[in-house]
Amino acid sequence: MMILENATLIDPESERAFSGSVTIKDGVIATIHEASDAGGQETDAGARVVDCDGHCLAPGIVDIGVKVCEPGERHKESFRTAGEAAVAGGITTMVVRPDTVPAIDTPEILEFVHRRAVQDSPARVLPMAALTRGRSGREMTEIGFLLDAGAAAFSDADNVVQDNRVFSRCLTYAAGCGALVIGHAQDPTLSAGAAATSGAFASRLGLPAVSPLAERIQLERDLALAEMTGVRFHVDQLTTAAALPALHRARDAGFDVTCGTSIHHLTLNEIDIEGYRTFFKVKPPLRGESDRMAVVEALADGQIDIISSMHTPQDEESKRLPFEEAASGAIGLETLLPAALRLVHDGSLSLPRLWRHLSLHPARRLGLDSGRLTSGAPADLVLFDPAKPFVLDRFSLRSKSKNTPFDGHRLQGRVLMTFVGGETVYVGDG
């Protein structure tokens, strides 16, 4: 038994922050005690008591769309390094992407991933599986077997299934199995070869660019097929204003559609790539400031449900190239929380509201009982100081790859302790 006392509790369900304490027993939250409540708190002589010193205690972050490069590219990231980075960033569940080498597209590979993850990662790992074999958009994977093996969701990641007949069959079959399908809203023909978002800025740098409308085009198709098939559908990252009305219509019509966005699209914009800085090259490319603001607003008013790190490790060699030739992607496990806190510090979101997007909504969408601060929920918790300032040094990060766009940035918010299933998996150095 463990008691975390004198904490500021962040409850995303009731959207409240209040002082109190949490009692953990057998890996789950036993009781929540609010300081203003009358009556004493349950105590136990053998209990370990942690004084939280007024810092924030919240459900652990559930991060959908983490790339751990196992199998295939362990030199970029492994379950051990990703897991350590995750818990240091307050993430207690990583939902990992299937765009590995080979793709996670058979029950056997999924089991391998599961075994490796349990062995090495201090954070919980839920693997996603590919929707089509080899993520090649032609034949569907064994969705049923993969579900039985524990696939949390199905996605071809950034490979969009272009053939509408193949895609609609996959969605229909998945709907029958009750599976969640995650789509990537980016027209692959328009975005082929693009390194930036089209506009005056990309034209000045002379970079091949894709129109922001490529997102809306793909989203409209995906939502139409979701409507046709009745599948549970999630959009991995929505990043442009022009795509929002389509999402709004689909949800108004009552379809089972949710939507995420990436921390990088919430906190950075296309101007950041000035000087051809390849650590800012992500997929889809960073957008203009008006799109960024529209996405923040859509998050604040509840149209966008989930924030993800879209953690994508790349080694130095694949980034030390001219911008067009460099690999896409940025790591984000350890910077998700401090970057997201920018939205709190600038007044866009309240802290409990932010936590809906970081833990409650993703957990709920995946059917997990975590992500909540309530008795009976797993004791996956993060204790953090939201105001603590620091300057990020990328070489201090725990990921094997160091491709963060926030190197040298001033950030606020440090994780003090992380708990998974009641076990202390991370203790910060203050």
């Binding site: 506009g199 000045r204 660019a209 051809y276 001219p322």
Partner: protein, 331 residues
């Protein structure tokens, strides 16, 4: 004055004064190059390496000649076919060369930003000889020199840049340079070859040659960069020539004393009628080639000033009046 930066990567961040100092010095190199003895020791002892990751006979020979006339030791590396095929990255190649202590790297590369990337990694000066569709600063400088000598000034002119703007680093560098000098810039071409948001660069966009060329002082034609195109941008070359090629009918819309420019190499019958290209009373295309060597000599001299600490004047003919050669570029 020299350059404020150690490298010459683009026109965008140059000041008017820096541009004018290149052009003034280049004017003197034009005269120098017309002498029978055209050798100076301005860059003697310095090593210049031309790294061309894209084939370009004319630009490479222009840089080579410029370096040799200034007395530098010039080495040419055709890199399109060598180490990159063996998997060596651009940075590795640069660091290898850097270890040989060159003083100047002249770089041509198919990717935008490649010259910026190199400049961040090597100790010597980097001169961008064209990166992707980003910038080609010496081309814009030689175009400016050509215009200044032909029209007698570099300001308050109406200049039409026509054709494949989207794939053209020449267009970008020229837009940056000419807009610093208070000119009216028109961009003329099919919309598929017009970069997005280019209207925000302070240029007018024209869909057809007649309106684009009306009353122009300078008509700058661009090469249709077929090798950079990955798909259909135009229906056919004959339709392109019909709508956006420069023939005598289109050229008649410009001012009677307008000049025609082209960065070369030309696709005759695709973007320009051969007769106009060869009309020496209107076409300054061959002058551009001559100015190219002089401008590159000037740019390299100024870039190397900090290394040499020696004024460039010693071997040059006494100063010449600059920019007053109006109407007679063919002395």
């Amino acid at each position: 004055m020299g350059f404020s930066a150690r490298h010459l990567l683009g026109i965008e961040h140059l000041s008017k004064a820096e541009i004018e100092s290149v052009l003034d010095l280049a004017d003197r190199y034009v005269a120098f190059n017309r002498q029978s003895t055209k050798h100076s020791d301005t860059l003697a002892g310095l090593t210049q390496i031309n790294m061309f990751f894209e084939d370009s006979t004319r630009t490479q020979s222009s840089f080579e000649l410029a370096g040799k006339r200034l007395g530098a030791d010039v080495m040419n590396m055709g890199l399109r076919t060598s180490s990159l095929r063996k998997g060596e990255t651009l940075i590795d190649t640069a660091l290898t060369l850097n270890a040989m202590n060159p003083d100047l790297l002249v770089v041509r590369h198919p990717s935008s930003g490649a010259a910026d990337l190199l400049a961040a990694k090597v100790e010597c000066a980097v001169l961008n000889a064209g990166d992707g569709r980003h910038e080609h600063p010496t081309q814009a400088l030689l175009d400016a020199l050509t215009i200044r000598r032909a029209k007698g000034r570099l300001h308050r002119l109406t200049i039409a840049i026509c054709g494949d703007i989207a794939h053209s680093r020449v267009a970008r560098s020229n837009i940056f340079l000419l807009s610093k000098f208070d000119n009216r810039i028109r961009l003329v071409g099919p919309r598929t070859l017009m970069p997005t948001g280019i209207d925000r660069f302070g240029a007018e966009i024209h869909d057809n040659m007649a309106s684009g060329l009306r009353g122009c002082d300078v008509v700058m034609m661009l090469r249709l960069q077929r090798e950079r195109m990955d798909g259909a941008f135009i229906p056919s070359e004959r339709e392109y020539f019909h709508r956006w090629g420069l023939g005598s009918r289109e050229f008649a819309m410009a001012r009677p004393d307008a000049i025609v420019m082209h960065p070369g190499p030309m696709n005759r019958g695709v973007e320009i009628d051969g007769e106009i290209a060869d009309d020496i009373s209107r076409s300054v295309i061959r002058d551009q080639v001559e100015m190219g060597v002089a401008v590159r000599m000037a740019a390299m001299t100024l870039l190397m000033l900090s290394r040499r600490g020696r004024p460039p004047d010693e071997d040059l003919p006494a100063s010449l009046p600059t920019g007053i050669r109006s109407g007679d570029p063919h002395r």
